[in-house]
């Protein structure tokens, strides 16, 4: 392999790394763009920490509203004034800081599913168990050797032949949902993303030791062990960032990713996903983590419009801005139909606020689904109610929809993978809820 040329390494209309790292990358970028014009993909946004979904989608009328106000005397989102909930269909509203999401809802692009969680005998109020249940796709079972998104990608025909970036984790590390998928690209910030800043003469504009280091890295990690694949994957990521100039990107007009506040990092990561998605590299699955939702204290008074003094609202604002920008970015390129975004957390929080104007761990929670092919502008599933006898263990919003039910619908109706039993072993999928267009509509929860 020592005589592999830099031209094969870098150019030739291909990222011809095939011979180097044992990684199949022999595609032509131009051709790939055409071939994958219609490729659909999923963006999975994990709100780690237990997002308080009852304040994201609060009841705004009826008996549940009374119970809500009674159990949340300081943090409840009001129905009038500057922090009034933004009305959705029926008896629910959206948090006042979710203006961008509200517009998407009104435009029919955002759907909300009530009461998402685990089957009752699998409920865990541990962050780390519950997160793993979701990532592994096997509630109650932590021994699963790979994640649900990895199993989806492993299914035959899911990854286009020669796809350069079938999955992208925009963050420091890939989540467990991609466990088992060794070619998962992990990238946070594409700037200065190379392992050797060395000088030396420049060849094709590159310092030779930077090039030479990459050649050697591919040789060092040419094997098939898990570390080999991770190392060659890291080298391949460097190559791609470099060859495709990933660091240079201009979003569509109107796609205003947040650059300050708690959503700044999410905004950068969403921007990177749009950037990669638009390049025709075979992207199937992208993941984002957006943490900081463990609001045991001072999550913000419901009447406080100042985001600097309202931690939860500021976080919602960041989420709303980042997702709005992501959608606008794809829509601006005529690609909204290709994308579905799932937004969920490991659990909801207790209905009753604690003495610290915060909330402790609960269970059922809303899930957001966004995209061009989403049956949006609707609330799906069943809200369990806040009346006595309706709450789980008298404390939590009841779980009425298994989160795998929606995942399965997205995988099947959007990504075209019929192998639900492979992706969610042991799960008897009751069929789609109608969150994605083009499927039979029967909105309900657990049967």
């Amino acid at each position: 392999m020592g005589n592999l040329t830099r031209r094969a390494f870098l150019k030739g209309s291909a990222l011809g790394l095939t011979a180097l790292g044992g990684v199949q990358l022999g595609f032509r970028v131009g051709a790939a763009r055409r071939e994958w014009q219609d490729e659909r993909f999923l963006v999975f946004v994990f709100l780690r920490g237990g997002m308080d979904g009852l304040n994201l989608v609060p009841p705004i009328s009826g008996a549940d509203r009374e119970a809500y106000e009674q159990k949340r005397p300081t943090i409840r989102i009001p129905i009038s004034g500057p922090t009034a909930a933004l009305p959705l269909s029926g008896a629910f509203g959206l948090h006042f800081a979710a203006g961008g999401l509200h517009e998407l809802y009104q435009a029919g692009r955002l759907a909300i599913v009530h009461g998402v969680g685990f089957p009752q005998n699998r409920i865990s109020r541990s962050h780390f168990e519950a997160q793993d249940y979701i990532d592994l796709g096997t509630p109650g079972e932590l021994h699963t050797g790979n994640g649900w998104l990895a199993r989806h990608l492993l299914a035959a025909g899911q990854v286009p032949p020669g796809a350069a970036i079938p999955s992208l984790s925009a963050g420091a590390s890939a989540p467990l949902s991609l466990l088992g998928r060794r070619d998962a690209m992990t990238l946070d910030d594409p700037s200065s993303f190379h392992p050797n800043a060395n000088s030396g003469i420049r060849v094709d504009g590159q310092p030779i030791y930077k090039l030479s280091t990459m050649i050697t890295l591919h040789q060092l990690y040419a094997g098939s062990g898990t570390l080999d694949l991770a190392g060659s994957g890291a080298a391949r990521t460097v190559d791609l960032v470099d060859a495709l100039d990933i660091a240079s990107y201009t979003p569509s007009p109107g796609a205003n990713y947040p650059t300050s506040g708690p959503g700044a990092s999410l905004g950068n990561q969403a921007r990177l996903i749009a950037n990669v998605a638009k390049r025709g590299l075979g992207l199937q699955v992208a993941t984002l983590d957006y943490g900081g939702w463990d609001t045991h204290q001072n999550q913000g008074s419901g009447d406080q419009p100042n985001l600097n003094q309202n931690a939860y609202a500021a976080r919602v604002d960041g989420l709303s801005q980042a997702l709005s920008a992501l959608y606008a970015d794809l829509a601006g390129s005529g690609m909204a139909q290709r994308m579905v975004v799932i937004v969920q957390s490991e659990f909801g929080r207790r209905v009753r606020e604690n003495a610290n104007r915060g909330t402790d761990h609960g269970s059922g929670n809303p899930m957001l689904v966004l995209g061009g092919r989403v049956n949006g502008g609707r609330l799906h599933g069943t809200f369990g109610g806040l009346q006595p006898g309706q709450l789980y263990q008298n404390e939590d919003v009841a779980t009425t929809t298994d989160s795998r039910r929606v995942h399965a619908e997205v995988i099947s109706a959007h990504l075209g993978n019929p192998g639900i039993d492979q992706v969610f072993p042991g799960y008897a999928w009751p069929g789609p809820m109608g969150v994605i267009q083009g499927d039979s509509i029967f909105s309900d929860g657990f049967d």
Binding site: N121, E129, S212, T216, G225, Q297
Partner: protein
């Protein structure tokens, strides 16, 4: 005992196993194909420290001098490392790292808690004055690099890191940042080889922890469960003993007679969390509000306390029990439950042995942890038992474990810098140190920069990511290229080592010999007594880097001295001019060794 139930309740995060289920058996599939098994000494030094450091006691030669055979050496090594030299204050003493930390850039390390509070909390951010609130954490995050790089008490540093992850506190948190030196010294370092029950109490009563997990505002009746939940799930019994949300206390099976902890509930349920949260109501610290002094000391706010009776893990306190007595009862209940020993043993085994350690090793270490629960050196005894346990495949002394753990970025960078005699004190308010930290931060492993309470992940899966690899490598590359002072003295004397330890004769500087020399220098050993690393795939890769021509296509003759190579290459290895930039080339070659799978594994 209760294995089935515990199995359902789960395994800790990311490692995906339970103690009860992992059975002795085949080792995990290899992480890398072209890796050579190291000698026992190299394996031990990479596991129980941050890798060999040439020319010190913490080297292959130093280890091999400890006894007649590997078993004797391991025992002597572990015993020595678990009994580090200590000063009058009980803290570990190490001449080299202490000297590096003696300057004013590390002044906060020597301040008492009260002094830290005064200087960095009370006067931390005066109007118009300098903001010194973060000085303790900034010194603390750099101090751990200094100690890991230069302390001879490497196992102690590893365990300090282990306990910092275990009792994770976000370093830049409101009250952690100004008091960090006390958290690190008086909670973690003071107890890290000591008694777990005492360590738990010290962590609980620290303002850093009381704030981080919200117990400082936990008050009746609408208690705040955050600390109570995490102290059970993360600090003591662990998620492996959590029986889920659906079960109630009276439904939990009891540990059978004859087993450790007989008669106690086998695990905990949410009701135990809620009862403990009630018991902890009112435990705050002096932050100047709610009638407390502004001194950072633990404070009990009587009016916030739930005085009713409570039951946690079968331990009962009647109503109106004095709060100190109540808290002692419940800290005992969670610290002394055998499940806590199992969880600590599992985590230690994951750190030092493998992501899927053999059950027999965990059971043994857990039984020692439990039996020694009142001993002042309980943790040292437990670690010793874990490391010296013999008789099952996959126990610590099984060198076949080599390669089943991938280094975390901190280990990658520190072990690389140790191997190349990096000589620089990473410190506060120093531009070179800031450049180092700015690069390292992007690996995702900046010390004490983990916000969730579970601490940095320990599983290899998590760290096998492009970001972790590339930014650890980039940090190493920077360290090998960087110079300091007017003469730009290299931080890592790659050239000087080459000239002094290999040869000053340009004719000797052939790619074959340079690669062989530096492989031996970085690893401290070679696969073959005569041929060194020559003949290995790794050597070939490194050699080819050294003789790859400027066209990046052709290779020089690898047996010709680089100073007497192809036309135009008549200058020595220490020249650094176009077209071959030999010095840069040499440093780039050392990079490739430190980036290799052989080096990335423990």
């Amino acid at each position: 005992m209760g294995a089935e139930i515990l199995g359902v309740a789960g395994a800790a995060r990311r490692g995906l196993l339970t103690t009860a289920i992992a059975a002795p058996g085949p080792l995990p599939a290899g992480h890398a194909s072209n890796v050579v098994a190291p000698p026992f000494a190299a394996y031990v030094l990479g596991r129980l420290g941050y890798g060999q450091r040439p020319g010190t006691a913490f080297s292959i030669a130093g280890f091999n001098a400890l006894g007649a055979n590997d078993d004797a050496r391991l025992e002597a090594f572990v015993d020595e490392q678990l009994d580090p030299a200590r000063g009058g204050d009980g803290q570990v003493v190490d001449a080299e790292s202490d000297a590096r930390l003696a300057g004013p850039e590390f002044a906060t390390l020597r301040k008492s808690f009260d002094q830290l509070w005064l200087d960095h909390e009370v006067n931390g951010n005066p109007s118009g004055g300098p903001n010194v609130r973060d000085h303790p954490i900034r010194e603390g995050e750099r101090m751990v690099f200094v100690r890991a790089l230069y302390s001879r008490w490497q196992l102690h540093e590893q365990l300090v890191g282990f306990w910092h992850d275990h009792f994770n506190v976000y370093g830049y948190d409101r009250y952690a940042a100004p008091t960090w030196a006390a958290w690190d010294r008086d909670v973690i370092r003071r107890h890290c080889l000591g008694n777990f029950r005492q360590m738990l109490e010290a962590s609980f009563k620290s303002p850093a922890m009381l704030y981080y997990l919200d117990n400082y505002i936990n008050r009746a009746p609408s208690f705040n469960e955050n600390y109570a939940r995490e102290v059970m799930e993360l600090h003591t019994l662990g998620a492996i003993s959590y029986l889920g949300a659906a079960m109630q206390q009276h439904e939990v099976p009891r540990i059978p007679a004859g087993d450790d902890g007989a008669g106690l509930p086998i695990g905990y349920v949410d009701a135990d969390v809620y009862e403990l949260a009630r018991a902890l109501t009112g435990w705050s610290f002096g932050n100047g509000s709610n009638g407390t002094a502004y001194d950072g000391h633990p404070a009990f706010i009587n009016g916030w306390h739930d005085i009713g009776q409570k039951t946690v893990l079968g331990a009962f306190v009647p109503a109106n029990t004095p709060p100190e007595e109540e808290i002692a009862t419940f800290l005992d209940a969670i610290a002394l439950h055998p499940g806590t020993g199992r969880y600590i043993a599992l985590k230690l085994a994951r750190r030092f042995i493998s992501d899927e350690p053999p059950a027999a090793v965990i059971d043994h270490a857990a039984s020692v942890f439990y039996a020694q629960r009142s001993a002042p050196d309980q943790i040292a005894q437990t670690v010793r038992a874990l490391l010296l346990f013999d008789g099952v495949p996959g126990c610590f002394r099984d060198v076949g474990n080599f390669g089943n753990k991938v280094k975390r970025p901190f280990e990658t960078v520190v072990s690389a810098l140790r191997a190349v005699d990096f000589d620089y004190t990473i410190r506060r308010e120093d531009s070179t140190s800031n450049s180092f930290m700015d690069r390292f931060r992007r690996s995702g492993h900046r010390p004490f920069d983990w916000r969730p309470p579970d601490g940095f992940p320990d599983s290899s899966d998590y760290w096998m990511s492009s970001m972790a690899f590339v930014h650890a490598w980039r940090t190493i590359d920077w360290a090998l290229d960087e110079g300091t002072g007017s003469g730009q003295t290299p931080l890592a004397p790659v050239l000087a080592i080459t000239l002094a330890e290999m040869s000053a004769d340009p004719a000797q500087h052939t790619p074959v010999k340079l690669a062989d020399f530096w492989l031996m220098r970085c690893f401290g050993w070679a696969p073959d007594a005569v041929n060194g690393w020559r003949g290995t795939a790794l050597h070939a890769c490194v050699r080819d880097f050294m003789c790859r021509n400027t066209d990046t296509i052709s290779l020089w003759n690898p047996d010709v001295g680089i100073g007497a190579g192809p036309a135009g290459n008549l200058l020595g290895i220490d020249s650094n001019s176009s077209p071959n930039w030999r010095y840069n080339r040499l440093r780039g070659m050392v990079d490739t060794i430190l980036f290799s799978p052989q080096f990335m594994l423990r």
